[in-house]
Every structure is written in structure tokens, then in C-alpha cells.
């Protein structure tokens, strides 16, 4: 099953992937191991994207397949995934003034496929809502995506509120999207910036690992 799923993901064969998953469910395979097989396949897609063998289109395609496979798998199974098993908890959104979500949604799907727990606040998110969600979920990572510059003002405000609430030190702030640059990262005061979904995962994992090492 594992190999078939991987082969279907890597050859961009959505229907084959769905078929294998349905068959596996029918034959009583543990939904967690099916999910893990899909995650491993997505991990391989991500690696090939990083080396340049795959393009963004392959990431988009396989993310869609992953989303559809996730829909087939028992939704309660996904909901019941313990956040303690998560690779990391992330509050994600497009800041106030910007309603674009294609990039955000892609990154969210790829991150979920890699075991991150994402709290997606959607688009046009007011700064206070980001803060409330970070406080509610205790998420150590805040990700904001933007396609237009008015979002910079909102990003700055979110980061200023994080400071005001004493949350800045423990929150890794990553920004991405068409209009973001390293220059913008410095100006808004974020910790990282990227246009690349797999790099976003790498940066978030590195932060989580650093935090864990610090605790140990």
C-alpha cells in the first residue's frame, strides 16, 4: 500500500492514489498508517521540489491529492490527532487588508501533510484575532501570507501586539507571499520570510527543534 501510494503521488495520479486509499480502508488497514503513507509521499514530493526536480505545480497537485485523501480518511481520525504528536502548532492567516488565499492554502495543506497542526484564520484577519488565537492555542508559530503591501501595516501591528502582550519572545513569526521580501521581513519585524512552502516547513521545524533543545 505504502509503495503504491507513493508511486501515485510522485507520478501525479490522483485517481490511482484515491483508489489505493479506498482499497486500503476497505481491507481494514489502520487509517493512521494510510495517513502516514500519504505524508511520506508528500515528504518525498517536498524533497524533490527542494532539489528542483519538481516544480510548484507538482506541489500544488500533490497537495490537492493529499487534501482529497484526507477527506476520504475518517475525518474524526484527523480531528483526534493529538496536538502533542504534532510537528508544531501554527496560527496562519492573511492579514487585514488582503483577501488572497491561494498561497496560504497551499502552504497550509503542505504543512498539514507534514504533521503540523494549523489553525487557519482565513483572509483579511484583524491583528487582534491573530493574538487571540495564539493565546487560545498556545501556538509557538505565527504564519502570515500576503500578496499586497497594505498587509505589511497589519503584520507590523500584529508583531507590535505580540510584544505588548509579552508573546513575542516565544512566537516564531514567519511571513510569505508574492509581495514579501527579506527587506519587508526586516521592516515588519518578522523572524523569517520565504516564498517556498518547503522552506517554510524547514524553517518552522528548525525553530521547533531549537525550542526543544532550549528546554532540554
Amino acid at each position: 500500500m505504502k509503495e503504491k501510494i507513493k508511486a501515485a503521488f510522485l507520478s501525479m495520479k490522483r485517481f490511482e492514489a484515491m483508489e489505493v486509499v479506498k482499497e486500503a480502508i476497505k481491507s481494514g488497514e489502520d487509517p493512521f498508517s494510510i495517513l502516514n503513507a500519504c505524508r511520506e509521499a508528500m515528504d518525498e514530493v517536498g524533497k524533490r521540489f527542494e532539489t528542483g526536480e519538481f516544480f510548484l505545480s507538482e506541489l500544488i497537485y500533490s497537495a490537492e491529492v493529499f487534501k482529497q485523501v484526507s477527506d476520504i480518511l475518517e475525518p474524526r481520525l484527523l480531528e483526534n490527532l493529538d496536538e502533542a504528536d504534532s510537528q508544531g502548532v501554527v496560527v496562519f492567516g492573511t492579514p487585514l487588508g488582503d483577501i488572497h488565499d491561494l498561497g496560504k492554502n497551499l502552504v497550509i495543506t503542505v504543512m498539514r501533510s507534514q504533521g503540523f497542526t494549523i489553525h487557519d484564520l482565513g483572509v483579511d484577519v484583524p491583528p487582534e484575532k491573530f493574538i487571540d488565537e495564539i493565546q487560545r492555542t498556545n501556538a509557538p508559530i505565527l504564519a502570515m501570507s500576503a500578496l499586497i503591501t497594505p498587509a505589511f501595516v497589519s503584520m507590523k501591528e500584529v508583531i507590535s501586539l505580540l510584544k505588548e502582550k509579552g508573546l513575542r519572545e516565544r512566537t516564531f513569526v514567519i511571513i510569505g507571499g508574492g509581495v514579501t521580501t527579506e527587506f519587508a521581513r526586516k521592516e515588519v519585524g518578522a523572524d523569517a520570510q520565504t516564498m517556498d512552502p518547503t522552506e517554510a516547513i524547514r524553517l518552522c521545524k528548525a525553530f521547533i527543534n531549537r525550542s526543544k533543545s532550549a528546554i532540554l
Binding site: 516544480f55 505545480s57 500544488i60 487588508g97 503591501t149 505589511f152
Partner: protein, 379 residues
């Protein structure tokens, strides 16, 4: 100030033809920025075209004038119902968005996968004649035609006024590339799925679309009388797709566009949003000195110069983040570097990377223009 020996038009024509101008021509691609610069809300600019037009002219003059005016108003010229681009849903400030928000595309599926066959059978224009009302939730295409024709008349009138004041709007018509048109019609994820799952259907629809899009653009230019066509490209780049997809679904149609437009004596402006680095070598197959590669700051413009220098004029690419967050000194340094490196030997047009952001600092945009007028470069 550099002693000017060319008119604005001559300067632009010189860089397109890869000649060395008296100074580097300059243009911020401004729309929403101009509205805000005049103290208007974006909603006012959209509701009252007269105010939008005045904002463009006043901001042009407040900035000291420059070589081309991107657009005389916020809207795009089009003959009613003859779409030069996919009729995307745009959220308008003061209507679906707050009064002073930026207008934004609300990307959703406007056509289904089954519609590829219909388009392949009847062509782009005939398809929308029938489909527009269904897609728009019951808005008759006649209503749209009337409103687009009104705006086109307005555009033509504004172009004439501009030209009488030695101000030259950039383009006579705009047109989506094939991938841009279908990616916006299907959405990026769905279109990407289509490319892998039903490539023949996509190709057949694109084959049946190309001539209509070319003709629609030519028909607009026959009325606006500005001999430049602005091709909107964002979704077909190597940022998204491997080159075999580009070669199959974007490049053949772009070549047909270029052949048709150059045959009509037009300049072809490629508005390349996203990173086109991988695709740039293809552009060397196009006629020399007839097109402009307009980069948005995600393509490495300095590498682009290495590839396209001496073959195609390059336009760009002061980043939006620099204009909205940077200082005039940041802008000065970057523009001088562009003039030194990309402007070397001619064939360079200093512009904003994509549109000038709505919240760009006025002094930053002014600095960009002033650098072009005062800095000769190391060349």
C-alpha cells in the same frame, strides 16, 4: 538634471529599439497609488471615473512628470463583451470591500472542466456570449457590454486629453496569455490538476481561444490608437510550471501573439509577474528590438540583462516593499544600481516592479523618477 535631447515618445521608442536614450525613461505603474496620493478614497476613484482620471493627471504632474502613463484611469479598456482577459470577479472598494481598501481579484472557478470542450467547439468569444450570464449569476451580457463600452469611450477620451498634454498612456489594449486566461478561469489549483489530467482538452480549448484573444486586442487598439499591447502573464512561468508545460501551453500561443501584433506594427509588452528566469532564454527567439520584458522584482533583473541584453528591452523592477517600507535613500541606491547595470548600453526602462503599491511613500516614488532624470549611470 540630465540635459534632455529626446521627447518622451522618442526616449521610449529608443529603449524598445535597444538604442541608448538621452536618459533612462521612467514610469511608475500607478493606479490606486495616484488615487490615494490625491487624498481620495479608492471607493471614490472607482465610483467616479472623472475623479480617477484627474487623480492620475494630478499625481503625474505632482511627481514632476515622467515618460509614460501606465493607465489614465483605474479600469481596463475593452470592447463590450469581447473579453481580452478572463472576466474575473473583482471586489471593488466601497462595494464589496471597505471604502478605502485596494480592489482585489476574488479568484474562483468561473468555468468547469467540461467547459473546455465547449470552448474548443465554439471559440472564446462565442463561449462567453453564452456562458457569461450563467457564470455571473444572472447578469445579462448586454448590461456588461453597455458598461464596458461606456468605459472604453471614456478611455479613448482620456487618452486624447493626455496626449494633448504631452502625456502618453502606455498601452492600447491588454490581453491575457493562454495560461493566465485559463488559470484565472479555473483557479490555479484546478487548472494545474487539468494540465495533468486532461491536457488534451486544455490544449484544444487554448487552440480555439488564441485567435479570438488576438483579434479582441487588435479591435481595441484600432479604437484607442496606441500601438502597444500589454500581455498579462503571471501563471505560466517557471515559478509554477516545468518547461515542457510552458512549451506546450504558453509559448506557442505567445509566439502567435507576437507574430500577429508585430505584423500590425505594435510593440509587445510582456508583463511578467512571478519568477520567469527559466523562461527568459525563449524570448531570444522573438524579433529583436520589438518587445519589452517587464519584470516585477521576483525575476532576477540583473541576470535577465545578461540573457536578454542587446535583444529585448527590459523594464522594471523597483520592488513594492521598497516603495512602501523603504526610505528615499534605499530607493535611490536601488534605482542607481538598475541604471548602472541593467541600463548599461541602453534598452532599459525604469519602472516599478508590477504596480506601484497603494501605500508607496510619495517621496519614494518621486525619488525613483528623479534618479532617472538626474543619474546618468556609470556607462
Amino acid at each position: 538634471m540630465i540635459q534632455e535631447t529626446m521627447s518622451r515618445q522618442e526616449r521610449f521608442e529608443a529603449v524598445v529599439a535597444l538604442e541608448k536614450p538621452d536618459r533612462v525613461p521612467v514610469m511608475p505603474l500607478m493606479t490606486a497609488f495616484a488615487v490615494r496620493a490625491q487624498g481620495l478614497t479608492q471607493g471614490e476613484g472607482w465610483r467616479e471615473p472623472e475623479k480617477g482620471f484627474k487623480a492620475m493627471l494630478d499625481t503625474f504632474n505632482d511627481l514632476g512628470g515622467f515618460d509614460k502613463l501606465y493607465k489614465p484611469n483605474l479600469f481596463w479598456p475593452m470592447i463590450g463583451g469581447k473579453f481580452c482577459a478572463t472576466p474575473v470577479r473583482v471586489k471593488i472598494p466601497g462595494r464589496q470591500l471597505p471604502e478605502d481598501a485596494l480592489n482585489q481579484i476574488d479568484e474562483r472557478e468561473l468555468i468547469s472542466r467540461e467547459d473546455y470542450d465547449k470552448i474548443a467547439a465554439v471559440g472564446w468569444n462565442a463561449f462567453w456570449d453564452e456562458h457569461y450570464e450563467i457564470m455571473s449569476g444572472g447578469r445579462p451580457i448586454e448590461r456588461l457590454r453597455a458598461s464596458q463600452n461606456r468605459l472604453l469611450d471614456e478611455y479613448i477620451r482620456e487618452v486624447e486629453i493626455c496626449q494633448s498634454q504631452d502625456i502618453y498612456p502606455l498601452f492600447g489594449a491588454y490581453v491575457d496569455s493562454s495560461i493566465m486566461a485559463y488559470s484565472m478561469a479555473r483557479t490555479l489549483p484546478q487548472f494545474t490538476m487539468d494540465l495533468y489530467e486532461v491536457p488534451d482538452k486544455v490544449k484544444a480549448a487554448m487552440d480555439a481561444t488564441c485567435d479570438d484573444l488576438i483579434q479582441n486586442a487588435l479591435d481595441v487598439i484600432a479604437l484607442t490608437k496606441i500601438p502597444l499591447v500589454f500581455i498579462v502573464l503571471e501563471r505560466g512561468s517557471g515559478f509554477y510550471y516545468r518547461l515542457d508545460i510552458f512549451e506546450q501551453f504558453e509559448w506557442p500561443y505567445l509566439k502567435r501573439y507576437v507574430d500577429a501584433f508585430i505584423a500590425e506594427g505594435l510593440t509587445v509588452w510582456f508583463h511578467f509577474d512571478t519568477d520567469w528566469s527559466l523562461n527568459l532564454p525563449y524570448l531570444k527567439q522573438l524579433p529583436k528590438g520589438k518587445c519589452v520584458a517587464d519584470l516585477d522584482s521576483t525575476t532576477d533583473i540583473f541576470k535577465a540583462k545578461e540573457i536578454l541584453g542587446g535583444h529585448m528591452c527590459i523594464s522594471g523592477d523597483v520592488p513594492a516593499s521598497l516603495l512602501s517600507l523603504g526610505t528615499p535613500e534605499d530607493v535611490r541606491k536601488y534605482c542607481q544600481r538598475l541604471i548602472d547595470e541593467v541600463g548599461r548600453g541602453g534598452g532599459f526602462f525604469l519602472t516599478t516592479g508590477c504596480e506601484c503599491p497603494v501605500d508607496a511613500k510619495f517621496e519614494n516614488v518621486k525619488m525613483m523618477i528623479d534618479v532617472a532624470k538626474t543619474y546618468k549611470g556609470k556607462d
